[in-house]
């Protein structure tokens, strides 16, 4: 067998096209481009929202107008023209479906191409999928099962109408409207998203999941997710993204808020596979996301993310460890290839006593991509016995990519124990030689090593998701690993 060299791998990777790039032709109800107070009002009206929500959106919009786009991240891109984006797009056939048969067959076909057939998922995985296709929830499954336990799992616009007291109480409580430029924008124009409430003492019996897709050309996707876990409850929430191929840069500015009340636990897993742009760096999604969780006493929030897509990623899932004995975790794999740029990491803000946080971040850069880890660990003066462990490893493939680490560590308490470790390396020739010697060819050896490199994080994903994540890693890096 001919030797599979690094160059071969590289070639194969370069020619590897985005497999999920297709465009479903569904008539959409799209707003004219541009953003002003009227558009914000119109979105709110379209969603049949109550007055307080419209006001909240307008308030956010006013903050946003005063803010300037942040430039501190280690990414370079042509800034989107915010007046050249349509802020609302919804699949046209509006009625809600009771069963899957009523769903537009074309849409179902899209999901089948993605390999996430609803039927299959329903049967095999026991996952209730709240599918967001261009901003409007099309179908929600397993709702009945959840309803019996008192769990609310629906689209955010539905929640605004049906559970206004919960939404009103928690929305913006973790990510305030004026938190940052993109969060303010999202607060003003968010189109839809998911809402989840787990009552006291309830352990959610299944993994909750949502798929986001960007479908309509030139529409931004502004998702808003709010997960509230009441005292002593548990929920595992999955979020997965795949987007079709486009030449224009598309903007995705989501906000995710998690609230874990006393003793609650939230596990939030993401697989992000937005279109990364073609191999010469054309197109791709801009992913500017604000994700943050608040932990009350004895609560735990665990973020797990697999980032393989987007042309530009700007994302820092964070934990505010407010209550005593609360725990924050962050496990991440970020893979960049071709011209992708990722600036991602986490923030762990220790406020309560005996708080613990763990950060495991694995970055893999190939092609001409740039991959940065940016993290903050802050121990405040009242956070006695706070403990943090951070590990950031980067793997470089090829000499045209870059891997960067920017950790910020701030400690104001003498009992704090903080450890940070970072390494940057390439796959060792001796490791490959070792495998070769034992009859494993180079490609397989590299796959093996990368798998081992990211195992720590992959292990944290729920079973069903781990399979998909591994598939994504393969798509992103197959052949390039060298």
């Amino acid at each position: 067998m001919a030797k599979f060299t690094e160059d071969d791998l590289k070639k194969e990777l370069e020619t590897k096209e985005y497999e999920y790039g297709f465009y479903t032709d569904i008539e959409s109800d799209t707003f004219p481009v541009g953003l002003n107070e009227d558009i914000v009002r119109a979105i709110s009206k379209k969603k049949e929202e109550p007055e307080w929500m419209t006001e909240w959106r307008l308030e956010s919009f006013r903050y946003w107008k005063e803010m300037i786009e942040p430039e501190w991240a280690n990414v370079h891109y042509k800034k989107p023209d915010f007046q050249n984006i349509s802020y609302y797009s919804a699949p046209n056939k509006k009625p809600k479906y009771d069963s899957i048969d009523e769903v537009d067959p074309e849409l179902l076909e899209t999901f089948n191409k993605l390999g996430i057939s609803l039927d299959e998922q329903k049967k095999l995985a026991g996952v209730a999928v709240d599918i967001v296709m261009d901003s409007v929830s099309v179908t929600t499954t397993f709702k009945d099962t959840l309803a019996k336990k008192g769990i609310i799992f629906c689209s955010i616009s539905e929640a605004i109408k049906e559970h206004p007291e919960l939404v009103k109480k928690y929305i913006g409580s973790v990510v305030p409207q004026k938190d940052n430029f993109y969060a303010a924008l999202n607060s003003a124009v968010f189109s839809d998203g998911s809402f989840c409430y787990i009552p006291k003492g309830v352990r959610c019996p299944m993994e909750l999941s949502t798929y986001f897709r960007i479908n309509q050309a030139g529409t931004g996707q502004f998702e808003r997710t709010l997960v509230v876990a009441d005292e002593d409850s548990y929920v595992s929430y999955l979020e997965g993204c795949t987007a079709p191929m486009r030449d224009e840069n598309q903007l995705h500015a989501a906000v995710v808020e998690l609230v874990a009340l006393d003793g609650a636990e939230i596990k939030y897993s993401t697989v992000q596979n937005w279109f990364p742009g073609s191999k010469d760096g054309k197109g791709g999604v801009f992913n500017f996301v604000t994700k943050r969780g608040l932990c009350e006493k004895n609560a735990k929030i665990s973020w797990t993310q697999v980032e393989t897509g987007s042309a530009v990623t700007w994302k820092y899932p964070s934990c505010i460890l407010k209550g005593d004995n609360s725990i924050g975790e962050f496990y991440s794999i970020a893979v960049t290839n071709n011209f992708q740029q990722a600036d991602t990491g986490t923030k762990m803000i220790h406020l309560g006593k005996n708080t613990k946080s763990t950060i495991i971040s694995k970055g893999i850069s190939a092609g001409k991509s740039q991959n940065s880890y940016r993290g903050l660990v802050q121990i405040n003066s009242r956070a006695d016995n706070a403990r943090n462990f951070s590990q950031c490893d980067s793997l470089l493939m090829g000499n045209e990519c870059g891997a960067h680490t920017f950790p910020y560590i701030e400690a104001k308490n003498k009992t704090a124990q903080v450890e940070h470790e970072a390494t940057t390396s390439k796959i060792g020739e001796d490791q490959i030689f070792y495998c070769n010697q034992r009859g494993i060819d180079t490609e397989k050896a590299i796959a093996l090593i990368v798998n081992g490199f990211s195992k720590e994080v992959l292990n944290k994903l729920p079973m069903e998701f781990a399979v998909e994540a591994q598939k994504l890693l393969e798509i992103s890096l197959e052949g390039s690993v060298g």
């Binding site: 501190w72 400690a411 104001k412 308490n413 704090a416 124990q417 940070h420 970072a422 390494t423």
Partner: protein
Amino acid sequence: MSNLKDKLVSSYIAFEDHLEPDSPIHDLRNEAMKVFEEQGFPSKKEEAWKYTSLKSLEKTDYSIFPKQQEKHTELKDVRKYFLHDIDTYKIVFIDGVYSSFLSETTHDSIDVCLLSSALNKPKYQPVIETYFNKIAKKDSLTSLNTAFAKEGAYIHIPKNKEVEKPIEIINFSTGNEAAVMLQPRNLIVVGENAHVQIIERHQSLSENAVFTNSVTEIFAEKRAYADYYKVQTDNPSASLIDSTYVSQARESNCRVHTFSFGGKLTRNNLHFYQNGERCNSTLNGITIIEDKQHVDHNTLVHHTAPNCESHQDYKGIFADKSTGVFNGKVLVDKIAQKIDAFQQNNNILVDDRATINSKPQLEIFADDVKCSHGCTIGQLDEEALFYMRSRGIAKKEARALLMYAFANSVLESVKIPELKQRINKLIAKKIGVSLGFQL
């Protein structure tokens, strides 16, 4: 906006009148002043100054040209600040003015003398043109120094020369006036295969405030060896911004040790540029501070050539309300393959109100490298303390022992035994115990 800035800008006009207009340095000064005028003092909004504020310095009314009254500083008063147990070359400045009777300079095969003479004598012109202000970063504070640079140490070690004794550069400020600002500028050129050890110190002799904005450029030619020690034990009214730039040619070895024990506000900008293959750089530091002291280490190692090594090790012990900052960066260019870069920052917070902000960064563009960094914040090991106390070692001594052990890896790499002993004593004094043995 800033009082000190305005004062500096207007002082420059007066200062410029006394300069020879046709010297090439003159244009350099004008340009540098323009940079400072545009940028002013860095604010906390700048990423590199996020944790250090210069506001208090800007508000103080420093005298920019200290009065040069010939008040005698006796050798016996300052002798304790010298490394007196061994013979050394000395370049001593009092309020920024060279003191010939305290110094011991030489022109015998090596040049250990003054920057002012190097700038003015035609003999040195080629050296100045090749090296002066060549690697100093053109940021506002360094530019400010360039604009006013008049005096400092000039050390030129020619090819294949091993300097037999260490060189001391000492800046005294007498405090004749309420508050003074000093801007020493040092230029050090270590020729091919040459070998030198240098110790630098800033010391004020009174309680009056002094603000030193010092810039040092070090050039290490092929296979040169330069060992540089900075001892910062100034009194609590003194502030120091020290910018040191090191340029290394192939196979050279440069080591800079920074011992920060004193001063109100200390900022060390230490930038290494490796320009040839197989360079070796060492950046070590020990910081032990208390009260409201503030020490900020900002390091950069820029690897631009393959097969090089760099090693950074900074230890910090912070008591009372003191603040420590470590901001280290390792930058590896695309062509700089086979780099071995290591960066470590360990900190101990002794009191609850002490703060440490650490930001160790890696920016890597080459794939075949071994780069790592580690950062820890922690306390003394309770079990180790208990072990010692159960064997009759008092708590205070036990703690001191552990702190010694903590800082020891840096102390061990000091190559001048007398200096090592001196620093040992300083640490003992700082921790407040005297141990009956030497480590």
